[in-house]
């Protein structure tokens, strides 16, 4: 996991995040009440984030850009989840928008495909005709609009080292449907859709920055709703629609 993350490009001059890993308590008293398959719970108190899972607890300090993971077992998942949360918390202040989305490269342009579980992010990634930045976690930046890999993956196996950054041409909400259908969303609706896939911890300051970035993204990058079925490859029609002059 760490070698994968190390390949991900990052702009220079940025203070690194420091994470300390401790195979030791303290555990919260209610740790055993977490079902093992439950996702980690992320909460904010002041400038500190707390990530709680059955197998670990992580504390992230937004001011000092440092964190600690207290884990019950020496597995990589706790560190990966803590680093995901740290990155998602850090990106908005750097002008980046962390999205729960698959990032695909089509003809040199990046498109982020987002939607609820089951909408087809991983399936689409597996069928992609070009490089895949991630099947579940990408970062958008806006000056200029670009799509970045984060080094984090979901269900799919990483096929090859992805490119670090490509120009962003579209944000696409996925929905399963009987036939291919693509329509552009108005900026207000696009913003509300994007808010549903922001991977930003529940901290008002982080969310204020992220919402401003999402509003800018919804204004300067076309946002579409794409209905599709895995039985019918969407690429040709998608390419044609994205290449069409926008009015």
């Amino acid at each position: 996991m760490l070698s994968r993350l190390a390949r991900t490009s990052s702009p220079g001059g940025i203070t690194p995040f420091r994470l300390e890993i401790l195979d030791a308590p303290p555990w919260p008293a209610d740790l055993d009440t977490f079902p093992d398959a439950a996702p980690a719970d992320v909460s904010a108190a002041g400038e500190r984030l707390r990530v709680t899972h059955r197998r670990f607890v992580a504390e992230i300090d937004l001011r000092s850009l440092s964190g600690r993971v207290f884990r019950r077992e020496a597995d990589g998942a706790s560190v990966e989840i803590a680093l995901r949360v740290a990155l998602a918390a850090r990106l908005p202040s750097l002008g980046g928008l962390p999205l729960h989305a698959a990032g695909l490269v089509l003809d040199g342009g990046g498109a982020a495909f987002f939607g609820p579980s089951g909408a087809g992010k991983s399936t689409l990634s597996a069928l992609a005709p070009g490089p895949v930045l991630s099947d579940e976690f990408v970062a958008v930046s806006l000056h200029p609009p670009s799509l970045r890999s984060t080094g984090f993956w979901g269900e799919a196996d990483e096929p090859a080292p992805p490119p670090g950054e490509v120009p962003l041409v579209a944000l696409v909400e996925l929905a399963k449907g009987p036939v291919f259908h693509l329509e552009r969303l108005a900026p207000g609706l696009a913003l509300r859709r994007l808010l549903g896939v922001l991977l930003v911890p529940p901290h008002p300051g982080l969310w204020s920055r992220a919402m401003a970035l999402a509003a800018e993204a919804a204004s300067v990058v076309p946002v579409y709703l794409m209905e599709w079925t895995p039985d019918e490859a969407p690429w040709e029609r998608l390419r044609a629609a994205l290449a069409r002059p926008r009015g």
Partner: protein, 85 residues
């Protein structure tokens, strides 16, 4: 009566719409232009001042504005998005 925005919220205007996100409850709410104006004035102005500004900005009767602002604030109170100051 004066109100303030509840803690643990984030909001953003885009065009005529303002979107509120309640981070504690994981819910969002869209406000139209009138609602966005009211939201922007909460905390700094009392209900009567807000209604006067809504009447002035949208060219409507002040009683009508007061009733509309009252309904909106009641709805926001009900959702836990504002609280009495």
């Amino acid at each position: 009566m004066r109100y303030r925005r509840a803690p643990n919220l984030a909001w953003q205007a885009l065009g005529a719409e303002t979107v509120l996100v309640d981070l504690g409850r994981g819910r969002s709410l869209g406000l139209n232009a009138t609602g966005g104006l009211v939201w922007g004035l909460l905390g700094e102005h009392d209900e009567r001042e807000i209604a006067a500004e809504v009447a002035r900005r949208f060219g409507i009767d002040e009683d009508e504005a007061r009733a509309g602002v009252g309904r909106l604030i009641a709805s926001l109170l009900d959702r836990g998005l504002v609280e009495e100051a």
